[in-house]
């Protein structure tokens, strides 16, 4: 990397050394955890709220409307006002619901997405934990969310919720496979599961360009499968408001409902950042081969802008899906996964393994 | 078939029935006892082919109930009205034609619901609009002290 002013690893190292030099290692560790936790929480809240705002604006754009434009400039603090409203709303206690499970279900969903965000590299050095199995960790953690959905549907003691939850279970378990396999494509290319290594391997070009057609196939597969995994339209069968009113969160009210809502948007964010990281180079600027001048100009754009630009682009595509497509039926959804996506993915993996073995990709 | 011709053929087939051709459509006055037989003939006879029961309604004529069936043949294009009078005003019972025309099942349920005409052999005779225990509002002697303003 020729240009390093945007490297955050120096800053974080300095903070780390300062903490360890002023207090005992245990305390330094605790304080570090607290700082990281608070920062992630803030990022989480801000991103969540503005994703809801973005969704409403994108949706309005697709539907010839204006969207929120009253609270704040361009309606920018509309979702904050909504959140305050939801916070003040009554939490309806359902007598025949399983209280314990009913109450913890939204938290499981939130915690799952919260854990996943820890491993996302926002910029060089701006990553809470850099696991050597980062991709695997993201996959594992994001699947915990479905337990929250299932519990919510089961404990509500409502038939709509139960159908929604069972659908969601079937859907997430199925599409997990395709998500994993399409991520595996890049893992094979880069030879590592560590997210920072995957990003570094894209310094001379993103995998979607370097990996030829198989990488593009994997990218498309990932987009489709992950849209389904996060239960968004056209795969929003777990909610399916025209059939099941609101699916698994029919019975939730107030801030518990907001948690599900926020969780859904954060899952979308996580999926989009994973796609951006793995296929589009994460915070890595756009570099084209030997065009040194061009590459140098690109380096001036901060990595965090690159990262959010790519993520927002993918989020926009996912929103675009939702607002233009009708919903699939559950059997069509599972057919799509088991009869089309999975076989294509398996063949794709084989092809990629062969390409890597022969060294036919751009190194 | 033309209206007059249809009336002639019907009068020939069912001499006991009164066939009126002066109105807009042919109108046959049938007795309730032989109505089902007449209906079967109307549907299945190749000269009639009344396959479309487009309407069925009842009239409370204070001393009796009249049920009026409006049939249309989608193949031959002619229309016939059949009127049956149920003389027993307190407990009117009629044979169902829901085995011949599926729409009759629901039209009959509506008549049962609003007029209290019962249809024997009906597969699922429940009230359609109103609650159980409600009166039969389309009867002329229906009284509702709460929601009704007498003029």
């Amino acid at each position: 990397m020729p240009f390093n002013i945007y490297d955050f690893s120096g800053t974080t190292k300095a903070v780390d050394q300062f903490l360890y030099s002023t207090m005992s290692p245990t305390w330094a560790f605790v304080v570090e955890l607290a700082i990281v936790g608070i920062i992630i929480l803030l990022v989480y809240a801000v991103v969540g709220l503005y994703l809801v705002y973005a969704e409403r604006k994108v949706c309005a754009f697709m539907q010839n409307r204006v969207g929120p434009n009253r609270v704040g400039k361009w309606g920018l603090i509309q979702t904050i006002a909504d959140l305050i409203k939801l916070l003040m709303k009554e939490l309806v206690v359902i007598r025949k619901a399983d209280q314990l499970l009913f109450n913890i279900a939204p938290f499981i969903l939130i915690i799952a997405s919260f854990m996943a965000i820890a491993a996302i590299p926002f910029a060089k050095g701006l990553q809470a934990v850099d696991f050597n199995i980062g991709v695997f960790y993201m996959m594992a953690v994001s699947s915990i969310g479905v337990i929250g959905t299932l519990l919510a549907g089961w404990s509500s003691n409502s038939k709509y919720s139960l159908i929604g939850a069972i659908r969601s279970g079937a859907q997430v378990v199925s599409y997990e496979l395709s998500v994993g396999l399409s991520l595996l494509a890049v893992v094979i290319f880069s030879g590592s599961m560590q997210l920072s290594v995957i990003i570094e391997s894209q310094a001379n070009g993103w995998w979607i360009f370097k990996g030829h057609i198989p990488a593009i196939i994997a990218f498309v597969m990932f987009l489709v499968a992950s849209t389904a995994e996060i239960n968004r339209g056209p795969f929003d069968l777990a909610e399916a408001e025209s059939e099941l009113t609101a699916g698994f969160h029919t019975e939730y009210s107030g801030i518990r409902f907001a948690f599900f809502f926020l969780g859904e948007y954060m899952n979308m964010f996580i999926v989009a950042s994973l796609a951006a990281t793995v296929f589009l180079g994460g915070w890595m600027p756009l570099h084209i081969g030997n065009l040194a001048g061009f590459n140098h100009v690109m380096d001036f754009i901060p990595p965090i802008v690159w990262y959010f630009g790519k993520t927002v682009f993918i989020i926009y595509v996912i929103m675009w899906f939702k607002w233009t497509f009708p919903r699939l039926r559950i059997d069509q959804l599972l057919t799509l996964e088991w009869k089309y996506l999975l076989p294509i993915n398996l063949v794709n993996i084989l092809v990629i393994a062969f390409i890597v073995l022969m060294g036919w990709y751009i190194k | 078939m033309e209206k007059e011709q249809l009336g002639l053929v019907l009068a020939e087939l069912f001499p006991a029935m009164e066939v009126v051709t002066s109105g807009e459509h042919v109108r046959v006055k049938a007795a309730p006892a032989e109505f089902h037989k007449l209906a079967t003939t109307l549907r299945d006879d190749s000269r009639f082919q009344f396959d479309f029961l487009f309407n069925l309604y009842g009239v409370d004529r204070e001393d009796k109930f009249s049920l009026i069936y409006n049939f249309e043949s989608t193949k031959l294009g002619h229309i016939i009205d059949i009127e049956t009078d149920l003389a027993d005003h307190d407990n009117p019972v009629m044979d169902t034609v829901s085995d011949l025309w599926k729409t009759a099942e629901f039209q009959e349920r509506e008549i049962y619901d609003l007029m209290g005409v019962k249809f024997s052999n009906h597969p699922d005779l429940r009230r359609l609009f109103l609650e159980d225990g409600w009166g039969f509002p389309l009867r002329k002697d229906y009284k509702d002290d709460i929601n009704f303003i007498e003029r």
């Binding site: 929003d236 919903r327 | 159980d132």
Partner: protein, 376 residues
């Protein structure tokens, strides 16, 4: 005749059935309709429609109202076909009294009916897309429907329940801008209707959800009395405008849209094509509205001669029949409405057999049900 026992219990229901109530307050029933659905997993075991949640007893109310008053009740049956409902009663009264209305009235009635039909189909298209999960469709449909409602509003001050067509003619003359704005709308909508196809028709998900779903044979359509676009999707030629022309329909050239498949897709295509046909009808009439009175002189109190009268018109949903038994008074002795949605609704139990719960919504959407028309 033997004494028969009648039960008020749902006969199909057994213990252990997984019953889900779709409605009465459910976003996809388009009103207060309730479907009792028994599920086996995602599969539908049986569907039993329950109506009556907005039963207002219009037929009973009619018995205490004069004919001009009844006009205002008919609006409230199928509120998306208000003009056609008004027209049905008006034509019936005119026919019974032997009144001939001016040509101008006939032309305007036809144009209004066709505009209303387009508006109804637009709303249906919008809601159908929404039932399928394509929420954007709703706004596209309503955007264009708004233009028609604006035309209506300018001419007679109301957007939904017009009560504009009355016995003897019209309540008032059309607005001077009416012709201009209608023509503008036709030019506008000819450009916009292809957008509907772009958004929904060619979509592979939409095709999979509708093609081959809820197949109704022609025999079933006739036997159930499913008329209108619902019946015409099953190749049942039931267009009253063609069979028994009224108003100015005998003077215009249009095609009766028929599809043979009988599935949701066919019903969808019938309605989309009907919008094109309706525009054609309006274009033929809008420039040729004859000059003259907008109404004939009617007696202040309309009394129908003793007898029984009937009139059928084609609303946006199908075959609307009005049946009057008169005893020569100013009130009808008995008034009955054969509403198209009533017959169209009960097909659903048969169409849904062996399909999934998501198909129930898609199929009921393709039937284009307006619940107040069922309950009356």
């Amino acid at each position: 005749m033997q004494e028969v026992e009648f039960s008020d219990i749902l006969t199909a229901q057994e213990d252990g059935d997984y019953i889900v109530n779709i409605g009465p307050q459910h976003p996809s029933t388009h009103g207060v309709m309730r479907f009792v659905v028994s599920l086996k997993g995602e599969m539908l075991d049986y569907v039993v429609p329950h109506c009556g949640y907005i039963h207002r007893g219009i037929e009973k109310m009619c018995e205490r109202m004069t004919y001009p008053q009844i006009i205002h009740l008919t609006d409230r049956m199928d509120y998306l076909s208000a003009h056609m409902n008004n027209e049905a009663v008006s034509i019936l009264v005119e026919k019974a009294l032997g009144v001939e209305v001016p040509e101008r009235v006939k032309y305007i009635r036809t144009i209004l009916s066709e505009l209303q039909r387009i508006a109804s189909h637009q709303l249906w298209w919008a809601a159908f897309g929404m039932d399928m999960g394509g929420l954007t469709c709703f706004f596209y449909g309503l955007r264009d429907r708004e233009k028609i409602l604006d035309i209506f509003e300018e001419s007679f001050g109301s957007r939904l329940l017009h009560s504009f067509i009355c016995p003897g003619g019209l309540m008032g003359d059309i607005h001077p801008n009416f012709q201009k704005r209608t023509k503008e709308f036709i030019t506008y909508f000819r450009k916009k209707l292809p957008e509907y196809d772009q958004l929904l028709t060619g979509n592979i998900i939409f095709e999979q959800r509708t093609k081959g779903m809820g197949i109704m044979s022609k025999e079933d359509a006739i036997s159930f009395g499913a008329t209108g676009p619902t019946g015409r999707g099953s190749n049942f030629a039931c267009d009253i405008r063609k069979k028994f022309p009224y108003s100015a329909y005998d003077k215009v050239d249009f095609k009766e849209i028929l599809y043979t498949e009988g599935d949701s897709w066919a019903r969808y295509k019938v309605r989309v094509d009907e919008m094109w046909e309706s525009m054609k009808i309006i274009e033929q009439l809008i420039d040729n509205i004859p000059e003259g009175d907008y109404s004939t002189k009617m007696k202040p109190i309309i009394k129908l001669p003793e007898g029984e009268y009937s009139q059928r018109v084609e609303t946006a949903k199908g075959d609307l029949g009005v049946f009057v038994v008169s005893k020569g008074e100013k009130y009808p002795y008995r008034m009955h409405f054969r509403t198209p949605n009533f017959s169209n609704l009960f097909v659903i139990s048969q169409l849904c057999k062996g399909n999934k719960i998501a198909d129930l919504i898609a199929i009921s959407g393709s039937l284009d049900l307006v619940i107040p028309d069922i309950d009356r």
